[in-house]
């Protein structure tokens, strides 16, 4: 019954999406009686969001009950799985994750309908219509090509499990987090389309940017957290000791993030100074396009990845057609209408706006580099060559540009709007930048075997950690606006993450040994004793667990890396063991036994590696501070406090 109810709700929601699009476009009409129809768009969007969310809850209920008469549950779940992973199984597969995608899309539309009060009626109608059109295509895809509620007759006697690599609490939340980011950008996309269709006056543009900004910021926060979490997952779960592999999947999440980061800065200029209109529109279209393309390429199996769910070519062509319609449609609209959009307020080359344009350009170049690197293998294959593009390409091309961007961060935030002189800036900013560059060159020249990128990364990172605080200098900290605090925290987070990356690249020590129980080895400042192995059992796996006693100074800590064997499907995974200290992480992986009773061990000492993710979270926190500061929350709190006092 639940499955049938879910399917019915999906059909109803699809119908409402169509209605939402029709009423939304009616709001753009010239005739008054047609425009009156547009008044219905808000309630329709809200009901649409609710229906889709309930359909998704139906799917979750099916997974919670492990209803094996539903094909999706039988293929992706198992009665012996822990509850959290049963629930996570609802979105750990192609159909379920598409439904989650749609649910967030529909709720996004409902959110705009509920909370957006500034935007003019025409612009709002156009935005909600665009959002509904986006949803409608994906409903068609779900209902005709990947029905999550399809029954299995006869029912399976037991489920076929889930990839054991995915049985990790962090990963249960990883897809929803990234989807909130990806699909949050859909709202920005719809706002951009709405503005292209209905934007006329100067006020329209400013309202559009102000309405879009919190959505971009929220989506960007989720993306940042999602990427940081995904990177940490790959770091400890894959057991390779690396934190970023330039894998197509990682690139697929990085590209929308780069576009969203540029958009975030661009939309501020449009909202505050009414400039960079075309940039903001273009970046909003690109950011969500990258989300869709990214999701598609990793899903379709075009590029090999852990995220490619079995998708048949018909589905691939279906999604590709949707992408062509949406991205092509938005870009065609851009080409047709943007010529009529004036560029907004003008500014001098050296100004806050100028620095933000440079920021947009550099981020776009990095985006282009990642895009080319990701798609080059596909292009080469079309021409009959087989090749893969690896980290050396990305590091050598994107690395220097990213460092240039970091250098820009030393002075950019200090510039005034409209027009400024470099000489006016606090000397300390220039001194820090010069010191960082000199320190980097000295590091390369004096310390043997130091490579260029980590040396510059370390010096610029430490410099930026100080320089990012300069915008606070001379201000009353209590009266500094929340948005400025957000910027400072986010830029400081960039510095922290950069220091972690550079330190990890420059100072990591690695040891690969085969030890018999009782033997010991050393890595970095650590002495590690191997105490032996023992078998242990988990809820749906068994494992061989290695015992390590790690000594650093007086303290002794135990590490227990495992080799895990899962029953359904039979798979072996390696569970790395991590020991976190304030100054780095000790990372241990248990390998295979050798013939003479020794065990292979792989150990890394990674100084300050945790700063990478800590910095990433700071960046997201900065965004969250800016989001909350600009919302109605602080005002409400202030009023509440005032009322309590009186």
């Amino acid at each position: 019954m639940i499955a049938e109810a879910g399917l019915l709700l999906l059909w109803l929601a699809a119908g409402l999406a169509l209605l939402q699009a029709v009423t939304g476009f009616a709001g753009l009409a010239r005739r008054d009686d047609v425009v009156a129809l547009g008044l219905a768009v808000r309630p329709v969007a809200i009901v649409h969001g609710v229906l889709c969310a309930v359909a998704f809850l139906c799917l979750i209920a099916l997974f919670a009950r492990t209803d094996l008469s539903v094909a999706l549950v039988a293929n992706n779940s198992h009665s012996a799985k822990p509850m959290l992973f049963k629930l996570a199984g609802a979105w750990g597969n192609h159909e379920g994750s598409m439904l989650l995608w749609l649910t967030i899309l529909a709720i996004g539309g409902a959110g705009v309908a509920l909370f957006e009060r500034r935007l003019g009626a025409r612009m709002l109608s156009a935005t909600l219509a665009a959002q509904a059109l986006l949803a409608f295509g994906f409903y068609a895809f779900l209902l005709f090509a990947s029905n999550p509620f399809a029954r299995l007759n006869p029912a399976a006697s037991e489920g076929a499990g889930l990839n054991p690599l995915l049985q990790d609490p962090g990963l249960a939340f990883h897809p929803p987090t990234l989807y909130f980011g990806y699909v949050g950008l859909s709202v920005a996309f719809s706002f951009a389309v709405g503005a292209l269709l209905a934007g006329r006056t100067k006020d329209d543009w400013r309202d559009f940017a102000r309405a879009m900004r919190p959505w971009v910021l929220a989506a960007w926060i989720f993306l940042t957290v999602g990427i940081a979490a995904g990177s940490y997952w790959a770091y400890y779960e894959l057991g390779w000791g690396g934190w970023w592999f330039w894998d197509p999947v990682e690139n697929a999440s990085l590209m929308p993030w780069l576009a969203a980061t540029a958009l975030l800065h661009s939309v501020s200029v449009t909202a505050n100074r009414d400039g960079l209109r075309a940039w903001t529109i273009m970046l909003a279209v690109v950011a969500f396009s990258m989300s869709m393309i990214g999701t598609f390429i990793v899903r379709s199996g075009l590029l090999t990845s852990v995220h490619s769910f079995a998708v048949d070519p018909t589905r691939g062509v279906f999604i590709l057609a949707l992408l062509a319609i949406y991205i092509g449609g938005a870009l065609a609209l851009f080409g047709w209408r943007i010529g009529k959009v004036s560029s907004g307020a003008t500014f001098a080359g050296i100004s806050r706006e100028g620095a933000l344009v440079a920021n947009n350009l550099l981020l776009s170049v990095i985006l282009g580099i990642v895009l080319i690197g990701t798609f080059y293998p596909i292009a080469a294959e079309a021409l009959g060559h087989r090749l893969s593009v690896g980290p050396p390409y990305f590091n050598r091309t994107a690395g220097p540009i990213a460092l240039l961007l970091v250098a820009l961060l030393f002075v950019g935030p200090l510039l005034r709007w409209r027009s400024d002189r470099p000489g006016r800036l606090p000397k300390i900013a220039w001194v820090l930048l010069a010191a960082a560059v000199i320190a980097a060159i000295a590091l390369v020249a004096t310390v043997p075997a130091t490579t260029l990128l980590p040396a510059f990364g370390l010096a610029l990172g430490i410099g930026l950690a100080l320089a990012s605080l300069v915008p606070l200098a001379g201000r009353s900290l209590r009266r500094t606006p929340g948005a400025t605090w957000g910027m400072v925290v986010a830029h400081f987070g960039v510095a922290v993450a950069l220091i972690g990356m550079a330190s990890n690249a420059a100072f990591t020590e690695e040891r690969l040994v085969a030890l018999a129980p009782g033997q010991s080895t050393s890595v970095g400042p650590w002495r590690v004793d191997f105490t032996g192995v023992e078998p242990i059992a988990g809820p749906n796996w068994t494992a061989i667990e290695g015992g390590l006693a790690a000594r650093y100074g007086d303290r002794i800590d135990r590490l227990t890396p495992q080799l895990r064997s899962f029953f359904t499907p039979p798979t072996e995974t390696s569970e790395a063991a991590l020991l976190t200290r304030w100054n780095g992480q000790l990372y241990a992986v248990l390998g295979q036994p050798t013939e003479d009773g020794r065990w292979q061990l792989r150990l890394w000492w990674k100084p300050f590696v945790t700063l990478i993710w800590f910095g990433g979270l700071l960046v997201a926190l900065g965004g969250a501070i800016a989001l909350v500061a600009r919302s109605r929350v602080p005002g409400a709190i202030r009023r509440l406090v005032a009322r309590i006092r009186s």
Binding site: M282, S289, L302, V317, I327, G335, G339, A382, R386
Partner: protein, 175 residues
């Protein structure tokens, strides 16, 4: 000029999507080219795997005539399926030599007695060292080696009935 610029993103995306469509429709080529092709066989000398059949060393391959080197094991079920095809290749004049992986002499003898013996020589690779050195990832696996001991083709998995003719011709064509 500016007009044209505004349409460039659309063109680029069209190109990208066209490329993706083409790749989606294209037949998927998942064959992995072996790095051993056109390389000489690694040096090894394996003792006989069972009584009555000689062992195998690298020198036995560089004899001026091509060989089919078949990696198998008595405990390997797909190898049983493959046995008739190896017999057929032998009947067509192919010199088949074997490498038995992680096997015992009596088990190899029993395997040959039950499924036939197409091998002129069988080396015993008790700890898989030679198998790993040859870049083989499992059993069965076969290498087409020319008369100078140079690998010309690596076949992963079972040789099927429809492969026999092609392999026999390929070996005939080798120097």
């Amino acid at each position: 000029m500016k007009r044209v610029l505004f349409w460039i993103p659309l063109m680029l995306v069209g190109l990208l999507l066209g490329l993706m469509l083409r790749q989606l429709e294209a037949p998927r080529d998942e064959a992995v080219a072996s790095h051993w092709v056109d390389q000489p066989m690694p040096a090894f000398a394996l003792p006989p795997a069972t009584d009555g059949v000689a062992g195998l060393s690298t020198a036995d391959l560089a004899t001026g005539t091509p060989h089919l080197v078949n990696i198998f094991a008595s405990w390997c079920v797909p190898c049983r399926v493959e046995a008739p095809q190896l017999e057929a290749l032998k009947a067509r004049g192919v010199d088949v030599v074997g490498i038995a992986i992680r096997d015992k002499p009596e088990d190899v003898a029993a395997f040959l007695a039950e499924y036939g013996n197409p091998y002129s020589r069988i080396g015993s690779d008790v700890d898989s060292n030679v198998q790993i050195a040859m870049g083989s990832s499992g059993v069965p696996e076969s290498f087409l080696v020319d008369g100078r001991g140079i690998v010309r083709e690596q076949i992963q998995g079972v040789i099927l009935e429809q492969d026999v003719d092609r392999i026999a011709r390929a070996l005939e064509a080798l120097p």
